[in-house]
Amino acid sequence: MDLYEHQARELFDRYGVLVPEAEVVDTGSAAREAAERLGADRHGVVVKAQVKTGGRGKAGGVKKAADAAAAEITARQILGMDIKGHTVHSVMLAQPVQVEEEFYVSYVLDRAAGGFIAIASAEGGMEIEEVAEARPEAVARIPIDPSTGVTDEKAAEITAAAGLPADVAPVLRKLWSVLESEDALLVEVNPLVRTADGAIVALDGKVTLDDNARFRQARWGDPSSPAESDEHGRLEAEAAAKGLNYVKLEGEVGVIGNGAGLVMSTLDVVDGCGAKPANFLDIGGGASAQVMADGLSVVLSDPDVKSLLVNVFGGITACDAVAEGITQALGQIRLTKPMVVRLDGNNAVRGRTILEENPHPLLEQRTTMDGAAQRAAELATSTATAA
């Protein structure tokens, strides 16, 4: 789960990392009031779009306003803006900071090493990938031993390797506490700055939390439900409420399968058949009647879906049990779109017989994954033409 900049800022503040004074608002008039409280009429204010994507500055999502009245106008311009497909629903107003020097620091997961590394550079403010490409020697990468973490010694090693001033070291230790105590997978500060009065301040931050750690992070509360303002968000929220592993995509073939790898593969095969998948939905190894019914109801409620493809490989749960589940699910919900089922693996023949003995006018079977995807693609494109 990625945090918004303002959420990262609050976390940093809680762990004693200096951050600019700031407030978050979602209307122009609230922006004006917040700007007044932040002293915008004396020294201006920075208005920053809150979206979970990079490149806000280039997209016009970060602007300086000279006073509170200007802040209102700027906030109105930024609110509702689309930045790389993300709609801006809120802006953060922050007190401007007199920057003397800009640095880059982050802790990231290095999958290859199976652990976290510190990345640091005395050249902050730019995209770190660009710095690393142009001048790799300017970027230090230091592995962190998980049993000891970032000690004073390790922090000193990082600052020395990156050519950062020694007073960045205490900030590195605090940011490690954020990573460790908050079960974060990424903590990035870019830029970390030295201000005119000598303080080290985190001017922008990015934090990704580990969804797997939710059970021990009571403070996180419930999973932030996706914005329900659009169809994508509504479907994903509905699926999440049912405990389903669902991702909305752009196509017209609704896909349900068991196992993340098999479902990803199914999407690719549908794509190869000349149609586009409408969603990713992994109902897991169990594939019980209730989960199948829940999955079908979410996918059927997607207006983009023209046909369904149910692709199940019977492993731990054999195909006869999956077929019983499909039959029961079709008793619970109304199938309104053509559906192609492929059952393969353990007890496949018995599973297929069960579906034949409980026929449904909109249900067809195919015995192979490729054949089933081909048929579902045909049904999606032909109904698209008919409509």
Binding site: L109, R111, G115, V269, F313, N346
Partner: protein, 292 residues
């Protein structure tokens, strides 16, 4: 001979007495695994009857190891307790810890991976189906009846169901070992570890490698294959249609910016001389073409 797991492997199950643990202990026994005990501190000293066989429950991995000389542990322990359980197995000198559990926090996986490595314990997983050496032993949840006869293909995969799919399509040829390494971002055993073991295994003639979006494990495996693997490798990569920034079921399956894409992985593998199928079925056909 198979890799990592053999006829001689003595297997214990941590979390055996839970629902999943019991179900899969039964299945593992039925597929010929030498299960010598379970571990549960609250049920120490009890015996559990599994289809007519009496399996002792020990209070700790150490006790189980002393009593049975177990060298493999399969873990069905809830996420909150998995770190301690893996560390306990490593402390007891277990050589192979197979972590089936899904949903373990990454910080815990990082910690137990390093801890086990320092103590010479190989970890497979977490969030994996385990591994099977057909006809010899089965440590995890891979259904042994998909491809019951041993053969000469080695398979390594991030995905459980794609493993089953490929095992099914190639069941007439059979496998030396199939290793599900898991779909989490931090795992104990990588594609490269399995590739190296299959390369060294005289009973493996060809290797099937299944990857998916996220990270660069497949790219690193491709570089390894180019330098170190003489046996034919057939590949498959899932997730060409996955959108950027969305986790596709597995915690590690995410395209971040331009990194972790299926296309980059396929290209890296092909550049290393690996034939890569566009579907699981075509991948199986490439294997058959190569072997016949």
């Amino acid at each position: 001979m198979a890799i990592f797991l053999s006829k001689e492997s003595k297997v214990i199950v941590q979390g055996m007495t839970g629902a999943e643990g019991m179900k899969h202990t039964r299945r593992m026994l039925a597929s010929g695994t030498d299960i010598v005990g379970g571990v549960n501190p609250r049920k120490a000293g009890q015996e559990v009857d599994v289809d007519g066989r009496s399996i002792p429950v020990f209070g700790s991995v150490q006790e189980a190891r002393e009593a049975t000389e177990a060298d493999v542990s399969v873990l069905f322990v809830p996420p909150a307790f998995s770190k301690a359980a893996v560390q306990e197995a490593a402390d007891a000198g277990i050589g192979l810890a197979v972590v089936i559990t899904e949903g373990i926090p990454v910080h815990d996986a990082v910690a137990f991976r390093a801890y086990a490595q320092e103590r010479g314990t190989r970890v497979i997983g977490p969030n994996c189906p385990g591994l099977i050496s057909p006809g010899l032993s089965n440590a995890g949840i891979i259904p042994s009846d998909i491809a019951p006869e041993p053969g000469r293909i080695g398979l390594v995969s991030k995905s459980g169901t794609l493993t089953y799919q490929l095992m099914y399509e190639l069941r007439d040829i059979g496998f030396s070992s199939c290793v599900g390494i898991g779909g989490d971002p931090v795992i104990g055993t990588t594609h490269i570890d399995a590739l190296a073991a299959f390369e060294a295994d005289p009973e493996t003639d060809l290797i099937v490698m299944i990857g998916e979006i996220g990270g660069d494990a497949e790219e690193r495996a491709a570089a390894f294959i180019k330098e170190n693997v003489t046996k034919p490798v057939i590949g498959y990569v899932a997730g060409f249609t996955a959108p950027e920034g969305k986790t596709m079921g597995h915690a590690g399956a995410i395209v971040s910016g331009s990194s972790g894409t299926a296309r980059a992985k396929k290209e890296a593998l092909e550049a290393a001389g690996v034939r890569v199928g566009t579907t699981p079925t075509e991948t199986a056909r490439l294997v058959l073409d190569r072997l016949t």
